[in-house]
């Protein structure tokens, strides 16, 4: 929590650095309307979660969030000073299979969903309260997901 105050101004960096996150690449080829999580979907989600230390599944892109909760979440991550090089965002609106699959995968009914080092952290409400209490800063710091201080 201590050194993190300095990084508060970093939000625009995060937003700019990955204009559309990884969201332009569709995770899946043909979208099949399956009810249950297929092995391929599960594998694709696991790959996505492993693709960066901080992974956000959101509606829209970091630059153009298409939902208030996703917008609030991306702003909080920016304010914490998350290193763009360690961050990936996936746009669930581009992929119905991802949109449904991630809910089942995380056993969580809503989007956005945040993963840090492959662990599910929570949705917007949880991130909001962790951000207020300082827990989010602590988690991101411990996970080495923040912009190094020298670069400030």
């Amino acid at each position: 929590m201590f050194a993190l105050q300095k990084q508060l101004l970093n939000s625009s960096r995060l937003l700019r650095a990955r204009p559309s996150g990884l969201s332009t690449t569709s995770l899946f080829g043909a979208s099949l309307a399956k009810r249950f999580l297929s092995d391929e979907t599960r594998k694709a989600i696991e790959d996505a979660i492993s693709s960066a230390p901080v992974v956000l599944f959101m509606k829209g892109t970091p630059e153009f969030p298409q939902c208030g909760f996703s917008r609030a979440t991306i702003q909080m991550l920016g304010q914490q000073g998350v290193d763009p090089a360690k961050f990936a965002a996936y746009n669930v609106l581009e992929d119905p299979e991802l949109r449904n699959g991630i809910k089942e995968f995380s056993e969580w009914p809503t989007i956005p969903q945040l993963y840090v080092n492959k662990d599910f952290v929570g949705g917007c409400d949880i991130i909001m309260s962790m951000s207020k209490s300082g827990e989010l800063a602590q988690l991101l710091d411990e996970s080495n997901a923040l912009v190094p201080e020298e670069e400030q």
């Binding site: 909760f69 056993e107 969580w108 009914p109 929570g122 409400d125």
Partner: protein, 88 residues
């Protein structure tokens, strides 16, 4: 949709019935009329010792069908002790 419109009252009734050690809850329809966006606060001592994720999972499970039917919902969970500090 043929599902009946959700109301804050129906959600509160369900929480009252199914949340263990139910103390109180606040449910606001913040959808401006379409009934698709709810803000929920639940106070119960069953949240003691649980982190936020586990707390929300408890509520998500109870309101599984309701959540599936609406567009957006936000959920905050407190123990009676935490709640007492918030509303003084």
């Amino acid at each position: 949709m043929s599902t009946p419109q959700l109301t804050p009252e129906s959600i509160i009734a369900k929480l009252q019935k199914e949340v263990p050690e139910y103390h109180n809850s606040i449910v606001n329809d913040i959808s401006n009329g379409c009934g698709q966006n709810f803000e929920i606060v639940v106070i119960s001592d069953c949240f003691k010792g649980k982190n936020k994720l586990m707390r929300c999972r408890t509520i998500n499970k109870i309101l599984k069908d309701e959540i599936a039917a609406i567009h957006a919902f936000s959920c905050k969970c407190f123990t009676t002790e935490e709640w007492a500090k918030i509303v003084i």
